[in-house]
Symmetry: C2
Subunit: 352 residues, 2 copies
């Protein structure tokens, strides 16, 4: 297999994704919405959560695991919260709806919390946390992961997922701070990327059922991910799962469908989104200036021996975003081949 | 020094704390509110955050670092959020006000977020996260820690604190799930408890300025705490600090006053509280039944070799609470001696 990497413009990537979805039966407007978010994921460097997932999403559509004509709607709401019924749409559509709703409510009421049920895998958490930034809002996002890879602390049954949290916080001249993290040492998407690239897993990402380190990504099914901070990461995964899943009547724990292994069962994925308007708390400009100051204090502070630079959460993703906006998204040979094959199957033009 | 441990009834502990505060100049009603919360902290096993802190709080009052006649008020509010001015009161009073306000707003609007400024150290995070439980609400609490003990990831300047998160989630027959965790491997309160007990620190809690493990709690000032999950814990501490501090116009980063070293400067501590009403999202009974099921699934799931039991976050604290409610709070000889000395200084009856 060639190691060659091809670059594709973000807009071209979006168009490719969109035509694949349309060919798979999604209507053009929602196909475009999902494609824009997936291409944005790649543009920000979320290599395990962008176009890499397209073949899997298309497979799920073909196998009847996605509703291609969904009616996404508000099930319950107050001034500052809502529960959104996703009607088993592609997760990006449900979360796009939920995030826009949270922003609209936060504009009026200072803050808003919106939960989703009957959603699906929606790509990287950062996509949705970043949405309120343009409105001078802080975004927070929680999700139940789309497959269980984490046992409770001390256990061996995978009852929990990587249940991520993302937070995006506006700055003035500096890039916004964007934390986007799994509650496990590594997200499962990163394991999949390693497998796809044929690279070993760093020790500490996974252990096997005897508690021994697992470093061969092809053996990922023989073990499970490790939570950050031991029992603490387990606690965070559990709490985020209850907030993003159980609270919304969405799946959590033993009910979670492994969307990697099963492409036809309704997943009933749950997510939650919080938008906080800076305006409600004071002067947005003063807040953003303070964030700039904190960012600069961190970055300029003294370093441990051997450390080159102190980074802020999201710093790397903004840098990648600038690079890829200019130079396009790099697709490795294996991924490119897989996407060309998909295009052939769907009877549409390939990505490049 | 004797190793003897004396038990004191929770109600007696509360009365002791209250009379110390009154003797130090706090009015009786607020003194009682703070005392009840501090005794509750001890009853739940937060040994580093209950009566253990009393001498320090009293010292701060004597040194003019606490406003003994505060006017705690709402600075800004919408239907679902508020910003509370703590007027440099004891932190427990500010957070008691903020939590009650969040609960009241969540009763009407489904959710509420309340931030504080010019607050102070308020004891363990779990105290406030648990408050909404009785109303069938989920509680979330974030705080800026009262001294910086954590550098940014890769750095050596302590610009961050242990900035904790607590979450309390109602169950039906099972104990509520209560996660109460620092974003560092260990909270600084635990380091203080180890120092006070003359016990070494486990490796992994702290490193020194060369990056070497630090295990002597008497040398705590020569090093700093480690975040959970490396860069991830740093990111969580940063984000929680921005949400609980900067957003409220409270101190964060370089502005944080080390309340262990300085007992007279106004700390401008910030906290944030979120209350979520189960009723807004659906049937509270169904939710709590689901939580019971998840708790039981976790607990009964298979264990790694050598593991005795799988616990839920907060499980230990509920067990301790039952024990201490029945048998009293154990005070070791060193702490008891310190409290008796304090009572003497204040001219009030001792704790036992």
């Amino acid at each position: 297999m060639s190691d060659e990497v091809r670059h594709i413009a973000v807009a071209d990537l979006q168009r490719f994704i969109s035509r694949c979805f349309v060919a798979a039966g999604i209507e053009p407007a929602p196909a475009d919405t999902v494609a824009a978010l997936m291409a944005e994921a790649d543009a920000f460097g979320s290599d395990g959560h962008g176009v890499f997932r397209l073949p899997q999403y298309v497979q799920r559509i073909r196998d009847g695991g996605i509703n291609t004509r969904p009616h996404i709607e508000i099930l319950r709401e107050t001034t500052a919260m809502a529960l959104v019924e996703g009607d088993n749409a592609l997760g990006h559509l449900v979360m796009h709806f939920a995030a826009q709703l949270a922003i609209r409510k936060a504009r009026e009421h200072g803050i808003a919390w919106v939960g989703t049920r009957y959603s699906n895998h929606a790509g990287p958490a950062g996509l949705y946390a970043r949405m309120p930034l343009a409105e001078d809002m802080i975004g927070l996002y929680l999700a139940v992961g789309s497959a269980n890879h984490l046992p409770p602390w001390g256990g061996t049954e995978m009852l929990l997922s990587t249940n991520p949290i993302a937070a995006a916080i506006p700055a003035l001249e500096e890039d916004p701070i964007v934390l986007d993290m799994a509650t496990t040492v590594a997200a499962y998407g990163k394991v999949k990327t390693k497998a796809q690239r044929g690279e070993p897993l760093p020790e500490g990402w996974m252990i096997d059922r005897e508690g021994q380190p697992l470093t061969d990504p092809q053996r990922a099914n023989d073990g499970f991910l490790l939570p950050i901070g031991g029992a603490k990461g387990y606690g965070l995964s559990l709490v985020f799962g209850l907030l993003a899943g159980t609270l919304n009547g969405a799946a959590f724990g033993r009910d979670v469908v492994d969307f990697n292994a099963d492409s036809h069962t309704v997943t009933n994925t749950g997510q939650a989104m919080l938008a906080i308007s800076l305006q409600a708390f004071g002067d947005p400009l003063a807040f953003k200036r303070s964030v700039d100051g904190i960012v600069r204090d961190m970055r300029a502070s003294p370093k441990l021996p051997g450390v080159d630079e102190i980074r802020l959460p999201g710093e790397r993703s903004w840098k990648i975003h600038r690079e890829r906006t200019a130079e396009g998204v790099p697709l490795n040979a294996a991924l490119l081949q897989r996407l060309e094959q998909l295009a052939n199957e769907l009877g549409v033009d390939g990505p490049v």
